[in-house]
Subunit: 948 residues, 2 copies
């Protein structure tokens, strides 16, 4: 059986009965629009199938006589969806009614089920959820038909409430919506609701700064429209009882019935009346009602002198009264009225209580309330439900961030989230039992299309993208590229995936707002150079795509790919050039002035990008690119600073500054100044080439010669002229090279001596995956363990592409704790030359302990020594608190580095790492001999040689 | 009786007998030259007075039959000078011989006495000692006559050997002498010897890098000429037995009779032969012979594993052998052969030994040897002879520095020494018994004319300039200006003295080589602005003088005044502008770019100054200006860096950065960012005006208004436009001003709130010299004590103009130690509002303890509490050791700041400071309440209000 949806310029007619939800009808029109976009033909919507040979019948169970009729006639069976949450069936029915040959029946178990069923149709038409908010243009098709193969019964969504939070909406979103829609109006929200539903979301926190959702529609139009669409509204954590933060200032006052103080002690009656009236006004719409109370504008309510118990008792009273008001005022849509309490900031402490003071968790007054947790604002889970609490009636929610306004540094510009991390953290949340609400702060929404797609799909279909699928982030990327840019040839899709993967990894490693000239070291381990090479590689692909993407796909390409990627990369390059500018300026090298020019070019490009965006599609997005995004010096943007451009006055006489590439010690001084430049790279097995750099610090070019009479050394050049910078490659034959060799660079005005330090003329015999000491240094990527031994109830597992360098290794299941005796472990093999004391640096994910008041630890055993427990968190550590310096450093750095002193014997040693607490994800181990010293760097030294 | 020296175009003829020293004859010719320069007439020199009616008779006792004849005839009496060291008589004798009417008789007790007598004549002719090396041009006189009033018997010099060390002679002196004299030749040294003798010096350490005095004359001509002139040669501390450092490399070798190793263990015979031959070659000239031995090129001789005793024993053996060689080889000019052992670096430790190992001081092998001490290379005395050692036969010498090549930072360019400090330290040396040798490192000699003049005059006439004359530095300055620039009108002399006093104070506070952009804080306490104002004041005077000084005086003015002063001030301004450049760049203010231009102008001026100098007088000094002098990053110059010029890209929207003048906290953020700008200056009594600054961080000018409704506040403007920078003065009437007032600066894009903190609407009644708390701060100049109480055997005395700010206060006599019970003391009165804990910071001179292994301390009593002993030196302190960070910081900063916690009561408190150890010189006391915080600065906060 083939159902002609569109064929020969004609579309099947659509049947929507009088009983259909108006919201469903509106969505049906949108999907008709999708159909027209794809096929050029807009289906006609009728009230009944009379006269339609092959209609599309759309209905919601219990709201559709036609569906009832079909089922009663045995033509269709909806028992698979009946009574379920947001499910739909999509099936071809033969001869459904008299005179009707066949029908496509889209039936929802409830309003949103039907809407998802409609958008399932859009999906089959290859219309992107971003068709409206992301200017996606679907491929044209002249003929669309369905067969029984397309029959589909949807599952219930994995997470009950799934949505996002439009936040930090000034200056970008706010200016944009005022310019285009006259404010935060229903005209604008229609676009947001539609997008949310297309993403199979159902839940929204609306914009809240200089905006009150229920007043700005105009009037209640926003709330009404949301309810019509089945969008469940909620407020952010500090806006209880369906009232908005900004509303209070509008109605408070000395003579107001609500009083003037946002203080439950002094103005209990006024506040209760305020909440009552809010519930009465908005309770008629579908909501998750926020309860609890915080001080005004995100602050704590009682002064610092109040005891924990006083605070808890106050909150209990508030919640009791609020819940009473809810029961009295609001009629639930079905069953219980969903309520939510955010365990955010100080409220978390009230929830857990302490040893002598029971917290809210031990109180029955929260029964049935969804408890909302929050990560640390930078994408890392904080406390998660303990096993005992997972059963809480009302369940758990998670408030996550792709955008954040706060310390240490705000990020509100473009996407800087990275799917492997989002996947890891949100699957962890799910596994810990957070399955009732997932909401993510998307700031202006614009430019968060990519991670938000993933977040929504993960929340909807955990079975597909969740913890069982370790490769989900990469698979999702591939499918997303296919979904959004279906029309591109495969080669371009590959490039586009490379771009998305590449720029998000870089922006994960350091958010653009937090980039500084000294983030990546300009010289050490050549990391700035390596990062620049990555960035330039991605930019090349981006530019190629921009030239080759078909015209109609350009707007979506520009918004979802080009601007976020190029914006990120350009700010990165700005800071890399600034780092080199500062480095060169500080050693007096005139190339600093060239780097300053490169910085200027980056700033000009940054401005041009926003300009272009604001003019796209006739100015559709004008205003949306206004966020500050360079050089935050603290959380707020008023002290943002562009990186300083340094310029250099050349010395009055010939002067060269020399250094070894990858190692930043600089000198202009001759041998006799006692500062030889050590080329230590040859101490690593397998490394036979390295280079040194000569920078000119004088006005005129400086001629030089390389003077070397050592056997086994060759240079890429031995005479030359340094205009600004010369990098000269040195190749050694370690079997010929004498010990302690050196060579000299001579020029008028001085000479520079370089000492060649080398090792491993002959490679030692070692078992596979044995790392060889490279002159006091060993650097190991976590996945290059020599052995991985499962424990009792879990095993270390590689998380591909996770973290800052190669990957992460984490003990799964992620909820499991282990004792040293039962723990899974990883063995790392290192071969040193000579016994000694080393510092082992463990680079692990910036995780927080999932249980309140706990630390994070892992076990470490060196050879046959006793296993030691290594704790990762310093005393007083407080995740999410911008006053906690170690946390701030860690979230910006995206890594936690934990040093341990270890004694290693001469020859082969084993370092065994045991999993203990959930959350520990190892990325890298760096070992430094105590007589050596690690160079400062952002990524740490590159992995050193190991035997295959 | 009037003696016509030159009259009516005729000069008296000069009589120099055949018996006269050839050196005296040569000097006589030079003084004839002086006479011609002044009068246009050159006297004729004859062998006898026959035919001269009124001759000038010049002779040395025991080398002049004429003098003998005069004395025998009772015409003259030389008993006052006979047998004395370097004395002369200058007297008119009536009818000395038959047919001779009168004579001017210049008689020397010895060769140098006669020479000084001749230069006394030059002095009377107002010919500067710098006539040759400083291009001084004396005033013309047509008539010179003398009367009995000019009769003069000179005193013996205060210090036996007085001279300087030409050192660190590359690149300046070396290039200069090669260009003009073909090397370090006698032709050049003639100029040096003459200058030394004109300065009444007698002792020289010759240049020693790429130069060997006794080989370069050519041949022995240098040594021969020195001897002829009576210049006593010596070598620097590590060149024993009349051998030069560079000589060794010329004669050493596997087949050399001297062997190849500069190692007394392995090459004893060779070295002894080397020294023997040196003594034999040069011992015939007048020398102070260096003994002892150090490793090659200023390093220690034995390895680090040798014990103290091994080192001492080795040195004893060396010295014994060297002294034996001297006795065997050298015939002393008179009495004992003068010998010198430098107690420098490690040799000092060998001298003092330790508890279990007697040092050289307890050995009789040094009897008769002058022991040479050295300050810390930065002008601060180190160990001085203890009372027990002062009687050492052979006496003591001091090696002082106006120029130094070494850590932490070399200073070899122009004068940066300050007479009050030189006076204080060299009188201390003298009082501690160092009276046999004074030698000062003058680097290239050029540009050290001013401090060297003082050094030589102090050494020659301690009675006049020494410790009894507290005002000697200022008096000397006046007399020096008079001596060098006699021809200037008084007003210009005053300006010139202001220039010398002013620039040397600034360069004393921070040597130009050690200036950094962050030396003076660009904002705190407005110190950079105050320093710039000083520098500009001096520059105005300099430019006025340059325009007005008579043409013939311009060369000397340029060399002795203009270049050193302008050079210093220009490098200072460069760094001040760099400080502002960096400060402005870091807050994103576009005025940074203007400061960068100012930096460029300073660098251009610096180059132009050297250019001009090199072209002066037809290139006479070409090469002498080549020393590096900007931005030393360590001791040697190869890593010198010009200050980095930072430039700023303006923000894309209006942005003002505000701060309170004198207080560097900057913000662009509105009130709600929680960063109000506090105007705390009004917390000080007597302060009713202050200002705040607005910097523009955006491209276009930004209009602002000042919004203030507080009574008692007026502004220099309340509306305006900030193009780059606006400073707005605020005047308050404290009696009207309400507590916690504030005002707001508004502009498109933000607003800035300033809070007015004020105190002392009514002044409290206090005794005179009581300092009032100024908002947690009290700053006291040391001389503003409330009482000065003498102790047993000494009293605190104000050293005018001493130190970094106003003056110093030091217990004199400087050799005295005190116990707390007998110590002199100073009382300081401070009135606080509210009891509390304070940090008292004692700013004292960067002195070192005069006794080896001791600390420096003073006593401190707060109100009636127990007196505490405050020690100034941290553990491991090692004066003169560039590896000792506290010492390095102190010598560059020219101050030592010692913090003490003190508890002060509400109301008036007394801080009593007791002298304990010699060397402690107090400059300033700053008190900060523990709840407040001192702003970083170079000079500390300015003195705060005290009751008159």
């Amino acid at each position: 059986m083939e159902f002609s949806f569109v064929k020969g310029g004609t579309a099947a007619c659509w049947i929507l009965e009088r009983e259909a939800y108006t919201g469903v009808a509106k969505i049906a029109k949108k999907v008709c629009g999708d159909t027209q976009l794809v096929t050029g033909v807009c289906p006609e919507i009728r009230l009944n199938p009379a006269g339609c040979a092959a209609p599309v019948i759309i209905g919601t169970l219990a709201h559709s006589p036609l569906l009832q009729q079909l089922e009663q006639a045995g033509k269709a069976d909806f028992s698979a969806i009946r009574g379920k949450w947001e499910t739909f069936s999509f099936q071809l029915v033969s001869k459904p009614f008299a005179g009707v040959e066949q029908a496509l029946v889209i039936a929802g178990s409830d309003k949103r089920g039907t809407i998802y069923g409609l958008f399932h149709l859009s999906e089959l038409l290859h219309v992107s959820p971003w068709v409206r908010f992301g200017d996606a243009v679907p491929q044209k098709q002249t003929k669309v038909t369905f067969t029984e193969k397309d029959n589909f019964i949807s599952k219930e969504p994995s997470v009950k409430y799934r949505g996002f939070f439009i936040n930090d909406e000034w200056p970008a979103f706010g200016n944009w919506t005022f310019a285009h829609f006259g404010g935060f109006t229903a005209e604008m929200y229609d676009m947001i609701f539609e997008t949310l539903l297309r993403l199979k979301g159902n839940y929204l926190w609306p914009a809240m700064w200089t905006s009150s959702f229920t007043l700005d529609g105009p009037g209640e139009e926003n709330a009404r429209l949301a309810d019509e669409y089945g969008v469940v509204m909620c407020n952010s954590h500090h806006e209880p009882c369906l009232r908005h933060s900004e509303e209070w200032d509008k109605v408070r006052g000395e003579n107001s019935p609500y009083g003037n103080e946002w203080n439950y002690y002094t103005n209990r009656e006024g506040l209760l009346r305020y909440w009552h009236d809010g519930l009465q006004r908005s309770g008629k719409y579908e909501n998750v009602i926020t309860i609890g109370m915080r001080g005004e504008r995100d602050s704590s309510m009682l002064g610092p002198d109040a005891t924990l118990k006083q605070n808890i008792d106050l909150l209990k009273d508030i919640i009791t009264e609020q819940r009473r008001l809810i029961t009295e005022t609001v009629t639930p849509v079905s069953g219980e009225m969903p309520q939510m309490l955010a365990l955010y900031k100080e409220v978390e402490a009230y929830f857990y209580g302490d040893k002598s003071t029971p917290g809210l968790k031990d109180w029955d007054g929260l029964d049935g309330v969804t408890l909302m947790l929050c990560e640390d604002n930078f994408g890392n889970m904080r406390t998660l439900p303990t096993e005992a609490l997972r059963g809480h009636r009302g369940g758990w929610g998670m408030y996550y961030h792709f955008d954040y306004h706060g310390g240490p540094v705000s990020y509100e510009w473009v996407n800087s989230s990275y799917l492997p991390k989002v996947w890891d953290q949100m699957t962890e949340a799910y596994e810990f039992g957070i399955r009732d609400i997932w909401v993510v702060n998307v700031g202006d929404l614009k430019f968060q299309e990519y991670p938000l797609s993933f977040f929504m799909d993960l929340a909807y279909d955990y079975e597909k993208w969740g913890s069982k699928n370790l490769n989900a982030p990469e698979e999702y990327l591939q499918s997303w590229v296919q979904r959004e840019f279906r029309a591109l040839p495969p080669r371009q899709k590959t490039l586009l995936a490379d771009v998305m993967r590449g720029y998000t990894k870089l922006s994960h490693n350091r958010k653009p707002e937090a980039l500084r000239p000294d983030t990546y070291h300009p010289v050490h381990y050549a990391e700035a150079e390596r990062v620049l090479r990555q960035a330039e590689g991605i930019k090349e692909k981006l530019e190629f795509l921009k030239q080759n993407v078909p015209q109609e796909l350009l707007p979506e390409f520009w918004e979802l790919v080009y601007y976020p990627a190029m914006g990120n990369l350009n700010v990165l390059e700005l800071n890399l050039y600034a780092g080199w500018n500062h480095f060169a300026a500080e050693v007096g090298a005139t190339i600093a002035n060239d780097y300053a020019e490169a910085m200027k070019a980056c700033l000009a490009r940054d401005r041009a990008l926003t300009e272009t965006f604001h003019h796209l599609l006739g100015g559709k997005w004008n205003g949306m690119g206004l966020s500050e995004h360079i050089g935050f010096t603290h959380w707020n943007d008023e002290d943002c600073r562009y990186p300083v451009q340094m310029s250099v006055e050349p010395a009055g006489k010939p002067r060269l500054v020399g250094y070894v590439a990858g190692e930043g010690t600089c000198t202009s001084g001759g041998d006799w100044t006692g500062k030889p430049l050590l080329m230590r790279q040859f101490l690593e097995a397998g490394i036979n080439t390295g280079s040194f750099v000569l920078l000119n610090a004088s006005a005129a070019p400086v001629a030089f010669t390389v003077d070397c009479d050592v056997p086994g050394v060759t240079f890429s050049k031995t005479v030359g002229v340094v205009s600004k910078r010369e990098e000269i490659q040195v190749t050694v034959n370690k079997t010929l090279l004498p010990k302690d060799s050196s060579f000299t660079v001579r020029y008028t005005g001085g000479n520079l001596r370089f000492v060649l330090c080398a090792d491993y003329a002959v490679l030692p015999q070692c078992p596979p995956k044995t790392f060889l000491e490279a002159g006091g240094l060993i650097s190991i990527e976590a996945e290059h363990f020599a052995a991985c031994r499962p424990g009792n109830g879990g095993a270390f597992t590689v998380l591909p592409a996770y973290g800052k360098t190669l990957s992460g290794v984490k003990a799964l299941p992620c909820t499991a704790s282990f004792t040293p005796k039962t723990a899974p472990c990883l063995d790392y093999a290192v071969r040193t030359t000579g016994a000694g004391v080393w510092t082992a640096l463990f680079y692990s994910a910036p995780a927080n302990p999932p249980e309140s008041g706990q630390n994070l630890s892992f076990g470490l055993q060196v050879n046959h020594e006793e296993t030691q427990t290594v704790t990762l968190l310093p005393e007083g550590y407080d995740a999410g608190n911008p006053a906690c310096a170690p946390w701030c450093e860690m979230v910006l750095d995206q890594i936690r580095v934990t040093p341990c002193r270890v004694s290693l014997q001469d020859g082969i040693n084993t370092l065994r790492v045991f999993a203990l607490d959930p959350g520990f994800t190892l990325e890298k181990i760096v070992l430094v001999r105590s007589t050596d010293r690690l160079l400062s760097s952002y990524l740490g030294p590159q992995e050193t040689y190991f035997c295959e």
